[in-house]
Amino acid sequence: MEHTQELILQARDGNREAFAELYGQIYKDLYRFAYYTLRNAHDAEDVVSETVVSAYKQIANLRQAEAFRGWFFKILSNQCKRKLKEYVNKTVEMPEQLEAEGTDFIEDIMVRSAFEKLSDEERLIISMHLFAGYSSQETGEILHMSANTVRSKESRALKKMKNIMEGGR
């Protein structure tokens, strides 16, 4: 934690290596967040790089070191929300099934496939929980709902996924 603080101080002064190291701590989760929310690898990549650029421009204004991760994800989730709005007005190609690296990749593909069937809001809520690490209160503030509502919607979304994965359609 102290090391991170040190890095942030340096990054704020323009030290690009420090910024790169901070980014290295979270970049995988950033991509996972974007991919799971947008269901599209190409757009996820775009949105994450846009976020990196945006964050780099603003990091001088980040005052609290502890808020780094949440702050970064805030920018990312806003980018994703914007992207989702764009999708409403155009046909989006279905995400390609990427080659997986793990051993249980069939189950992973199944899980991802069920996840894709959730609504935009449901995917955002779960991504914020798992990849951004937000509390339900934080998620609620970003999505205009109370913490309780966030938890309730997440629970329902997970039950929906369970139904889908159990073949109950």
Binding site: Q64, N89, E101, F115, S135, S136, G140, S152
Partner: protein, 720 residues
């Protein structure tokens, strides 16, 4: 909750095998940033931040002493349902249930023989002067105590001390690392207005019948006749009002193929999120959630908007001439919007507001904004606040009333220090089901708040074992509240029915019902109630509620699958909408419509059913307002989702019912274009009929069908 965690884990695990593109790896950062100049600290951005701070300062002075640290720490204040369930917090002894509420408001038919007659000192109630001694902090004797559970505050010092006593570390969720969520009760208890599963009592009420246009038009599917509810689409038989949550309201002249968009009313606040609308006489009411008006949420600058005040605002428009709506007034209250009701020309708005725990302790009792909610930018009076003996968290349920004909100010405002979870509103009472205070066993608290002609008064508080499935698990009749609960005891579940009196004390009960099952749906009406449990056998139970001291199960019908929603459909018939399942594997086969003959409650039979295979979800099951059901018009409409290979198919389906033929599917309109399977969120879709036309509305689109021509589609409109 366990199952939820398992699925979350599997999602997380599935993400681990997702390959990250090389272009995003840290060693490629230079490439990403190649054209980006580093912005120095003393840039314009800083200036804008300071200006914003000053603006906010004008409204709430002490708020911004705290600086950016709050942004990070504030977010640690969350609901602690799970914590309470584990019996955490102060382990006081079982609640003292001695009721001591003095009712001083007129209630209507809910008054029983014994209940104290209300005097007509309504105005005094509104000022709260008779009830509470504001003068001395020491004099507590005149406080109203509700069931030993809630106490009306007499001054800010008392509230401050109670607030500051909340264990700030308990129930907070770690920010990094494992994030524990308090689970919604397994019975899918839901909070937001959208998530309530409820149904309609009556055929369409004609409260809003307009002079022009057809008098035969559908209304919002509401729970209690005479108690209007907000929705995303409203009609007066001539015009359709359609809510586009991020944009505003569209006013459409409904005229079959000749329909036209005649006006767009933009949202009054830039970062607002519209929730619901009401039509009342010649007024349009729009309820909007958002951060404090006047502060823009610039996309790039919103690093610190976590500490902005969440507000819910009610805008009232004059729509005598729908082409020129006029804003008549607006009022706002702190917090996230939960729900509202419109009764006799008064709108009652309920929000959930979190205050600044744990910072309230640091800043002292003078900083009332940190521990007391505000309405219209002003901190509420101390005697408007009701507190439990041991509050679990810093959340308030804020309740206000507005007279529609004078929409620029509140008639009454009250707040209860409680985490609101679910609501049921009868003609004269708001019942709030919430997380527990003061208990070692798991259960639900219920608070009864009486309302009439704009006056709001918390009057009783009680507790029952177990959890409520949805708002239909509560029903009031002749002053008694009937409550259905499911209790999770280790691995088993038990269900119960409790009958509570006006003081929310148990007068009669049935316990240990349908062990191993949980309640999926309920419909209680006057003397008889019906409820469904699942899983294993899914009986539809009939219960005799005529004697408050002795409720009795008088019948049970075993069927496959289960109904998640029950709706009375004509004389002696009960419609059930739910799922058909394979009796051996419990696997879902599809959607099931059931019609039950309830002419003899002791011998209910399922006279017809219709199963539509392949359907995976019906959003209206989470929000009863999504149902269009009218037995007189013989129409049953709702949207459904069918999961496909890589997406889904969303349909609006319409059915009718005949005693001999059973159910007939009259329409299944697919929203996606031919060959497309893009997932579509259809939770805001409504089917509205005016005369012989059915209008299927989304926020930006509308299709029109001719009901008397076999639901032939006659038009499609795109408002984009």
């Amino acid at each position: 909750m366990e199952e939820d965690k398992k699925i979350l884990d599997s999602i997380k695990k599935s993400a681990e095998s997702l390959p990250i593109p090389d272009s995003l790896k840290p060693d490629n950062l230079d490439n990403i940033l190649k054209d980006t100049a580093f912005a120095e600290k003393n840039s314009e951005q800083d200036m804008t931040e300071d200006t914003k701070m000053t603006d906010k300062k004008k409204k709430i002075t002490s708020f911004y002493k705290w600086g950016g640290a709050i942004a990070a720490a504030l977010v640690l204040v969350v609901g602690i349902t799970a914590w309470v369930q584990l019996g955490g917090g102060n382990n006081k002894s079982a609640m003292d249930m001695t009721a001591n509420s003095s009712a001083d408001m007129d209630t209507t038919e809910s008054v029983t023989a014994e209940s104290e007659e209300l005097n007509s000192e309504d105005t005094q109630v509104a000022e709260n002067s008779a009830e509470v001694s504001e003068e001395s902090a020491a004099d507590m004797t005149e406080e109203v105590t509700l069931g030993g559970v809630l106490t009306q505050a007499s001054d800010y010092q008392e509230i401050y001390e109670k607030y500051a006593s909340i264990q700030s570390s308990a129930g907070m969720y770690a920010r990094d690392g494992v994030v524990e969520y308090g689970a919604a009760a397994d019975g899918e208890a839901s909070i937001s207005a959208q998530a309530e599963t409820a149904g309609v009592e009556s055929a369409s009420s004609q409260d809003n019948a307009s002079a022009a246009g057809s008098a035969d038009f559908s209304q919002t599917n509401i729970r209690t006749e005479g108690v209007e509810e907000g929705d995303t689409v409203k009609t007066d038989g001539t015009y359709l009002y359609v809510l586009d949550r991020n944009t505003g309201v569209r006013i459409v002249k409904a005229n079959a193929q000749e329909s036209q968009l005649i006006k767009d009313i933009p949202l009054e606040q830039t970062s607002g999120y519209a929730r619901e609308m009401y039509l009342y006489e010649k007024r349009l009411i729009v309820i909007v959630d958002g951060v404090e008006a006047g502060i823009e949420e610039a996309e790039e600058e919103d690093v610190f908007d976590i500490n902005q005040q969440q507000q819910t605002t009610v805008y009232t428009y004059n729509i005598e001439n729908p082409e020129e709506p006029k804003l008549l007034g607006q009022v706002s209250q702190g917090g996230f919007y939960h729900t509202s009701r419109l009764v006799d020309g008064y709108l009652y708005v309920l929000t959930e507001d979190s205050r600044m725990l744990p910072y309230a302790k640091t800043y002292g009792v003078e900083d009332t904004n940190s521990f007391v909610p505000s309405v219209n930018g002003e901190v509420m009076a101390a005697d408007d606040i009701y507190m439990p003996n041991t509050p679990d968290n810093g959340t308030y349920l804020v309740m206000t009333s507005v007279k529609i004909t004078s929409p620029a100010h509140f008639i009454d405002t009250k707040a209860v220090m409680a985490m609101p979870y679910m609501f049921y509103v009868s003609n004269s009472n708001i019942y709030v089901n919430g997380s527990g205070w003061n208990q070692t066993a798991s259960g639900s608290t219920i608070v009864r708040i009486a309302f009439k002609n704009g006056k709001i008064k918390p009057e009783a508080a009680g507790w029952v074992k177990g959890y409520l499935n949805d708002s239909f698990s509560m029903d009031e009749y002749q002053g008694y509240l009937r409550v259905l609960t499911t209790d999770y005891v280790q691995d088993a579940t038990q269900n119960a029915l409790y009958i509570l009196d006006e003081d929310l004390q148990v007068t009669g009960k049935l316990e240990n019902l349908a062990e191993g099952e949980h309640i999926e749906s309920a419909r209680l009406l006057d003397d008889i109630g019906y409820f469904v449990t699942y899983k294993q056998t899914d009986p539809l139970f009939s219960v005799d509620l005529s004697d408050p001291a002795n409720p009795a199960i008088i019948g049970s019908l075993k069927v496959n699958g289960f109904s998640e929603y029950l709706h009375f459909y004509g004389a002696n018939q009960l419609l059930g909408i739910g799922w058909e399942t394979n009796p051996d594997t419990q696997e879902r086969i599809g959607l099931k419509l059931s019609m039950y003959d309830i002419s003899d409650p002791e011998n209910v039979t399922e006279i017809h059913k219709k199963v539509i295979e392949g359907i995976g979800d019906v959003t209206a099951l989470y929000n009863y307002k999504g149902f269009l059901i009218n037995p007189d018009k013989n129409i049953i409409g709702f949207t459904s989702q069918t999961w496909k290979e890589s997406g889904s198919e969303s349909n609006y389906m319409v059915f009718s019912y005949d005693k001999d033929q059973g159910f007939t599917q009259n329409l299944s309109y697919k929203f996606q274009a031919e060959g497309e399977e893009e997932y579509m969120d259809v939770s805001d879709v409504r089917g509205v009929y005016i005369g012989n036309e059915l209008y299927i509305t989304r926020y930006d689109q509308m299709e029109v069908f001719k009901i008397d021509e076999d639901y032939a589609q006659i038009a499609v409109f795109d408002w984009n």
